[in-house]
Amino acid sequence: MIRLPPFTYLAPGTVDAAARLMAEHGRDAMLVAGGTDLYPNMKRRQFEPKVLVGLRGIRELRGVRGSASGWTIGAATTLSAVTAHPGIARDFPALATAAGLVSSPQLQNMGTIGGNVCVDTRCNYYNQSYEWRKAIGFCMKKDGDICLVAPGSSRCWAVSSSDTAPVLWALGARVRLIGAGGERTVPMPALYRDDGIEYLAKRPDEVVADILLPPAEGWRSAYLKLRRRGSFDFPVLGVAVAARMDGDIVRDARIVLGAVASLPRPAERAAAALVGQRVTRELIARVADLAAGPAKPLDNTDFTHPYRKKMTRVFVARALAAVAGLQNGSAASEEVA
């Protein structure tokens, strides 16, 4: 039996109370919603909080609401509920797809969208049992002081492994954070830092309360995921593409890559090359080449990193073709190698 380490469990009834408890307990406390990421990590002793602040009982954190200014998704809404929501599936198919590709059906029933946005970064040298990590020598992300992927590096290179984060970034989502000192709403890019350990730019007492999506208004989107098996596995590459089309001319576009860095990585030059253009196979090939540029996978996930880099180009091309309606052949949203 791999048991959880002991902790005290607090179950506040409001987000404000949760934020206050987090501020009060400081570094000893962690937030938990679905628990599907935190509890396995705690069992492997990657986190040993003395206090857990449970968000499950907070009603205001659940549910999907639509209005003229867009959609609001409560952070503790389960991934299943996001996938099954007809408004989300209609307006943001990439988001429904991404939420429906997280791990397995059981974990989608438990895991939340806020949890997936904040999911811990991953690495072959980190997501291992305590005994394994001890035997090989601890890494800087937990208990050690060097990076085992890049021993000369002063930083941690663990990989952002969220399926929904690149999609929300591409869709122009914002996140409402409620902390002990008040609330603020930030665009998705401002939630992340390029560091495998301190990968979130929010304060520890800040609770992700809502995800805010602008109206879909002509935007189309697609998400493609690469992993070894058709279930369970985290992405080793995710490609999110969103484009606003005017006939066959692209008016606006965003391409965001997942699992190629410690945070979702936008391919800005590639997206800019689409704007004002008519989408053709030649343009797609050129943009896919540009998009693969910012993808710098290291040898710290499943599959070889040259393969993941190569597949970035392939997936960007497929996702663009899907968004532009040029798709032929398979419309599958993931590739299992």
């Binding site: 039996m1 791999i2 048991r3 959880l4 380490p5 002991p6 902790f7 005290t8 469990y9 179950a11 628990g35 599907t36 509890y39 396995p40 069992k43 492997r44 449970g54 499950r56 299943s80 791990s103 397995s104 059906p105 059981q106 974990l107 029933n109 438990m110 058709g230 279930s231 369970f232």
Partner: protein, 161 residues
């Protein structure tokens, strides 16, 4: 920190005084004597500890009892009624869909939730629903066959009543 938890398991109210960090899986097996729920990887990567929470399949190895108070918990022990096997259990036994049997409770419960939602699923829908349950013996074919047979029988039963 020990807490008193009041759980609704298979239609019965059960209470236990347990450390708060014990998982639902551990409490079901060690404190409530319900060993039908199996512990596999204990990290959310195999599905054998699946139970139903208000009818939805979830992993008991990653749930805390304090988080499941007020929910209806169904374990494999709650499937048979009045000494009669559930049609899924009957079909699994008849078609040899259980070999070592370790994944069976989790798969039976996941399939129960599927059939409650979709009484006549396609094979692809059965596969998709069971994508979170690993089986290392059967190669899955007999499991898929058994779920389809049970669906057929449950549909007929429904038609008769």
């Amino acid at each position: 920190m020990k807490v008193r938890v009041a759980l609704s398991v298979n239609g019965e109210s059960r209470e236990a005084l347990v450390p708060v960090h014990k998982t639902l899986l551990e409490v079901l097996r060690e404190d409530l004597g319900l060993t039908g729920t199996k512990h596999g990887c204990e990290l959310g990567e195999c599905g054998t500890c699946t139970v139903l929470l208000d009818g939805e399949p979830v992993l008991s190895c990653l749930a805390l009892p304090v988080e499941t108070e007020g929910c209806r918990i169904t374990t494999v022990e709650g499937m048979a009624e009045g000494g009669r096997l559930h049609p899924l259990q009957q079909a699994f036994a008849e078609l040899g869909a259980a070999q070592c049997g370790y994944c069976t409770p989790g798969i039976l419960l996941t399939a129960t939730a599927l059939l409650a939602d979709r009484p006549s699923p396609t094979r692809q829908e059965v596969k998709d629903a069971l994508a979170g349950n690993l089986c290392r013996c059967t190669g899955y074919t007999k499991i898929l066959d058994a779920v389809e047979l049970a669906a057929l029988r449950m549909g007929r039963q429904e038609a008769r009543t």
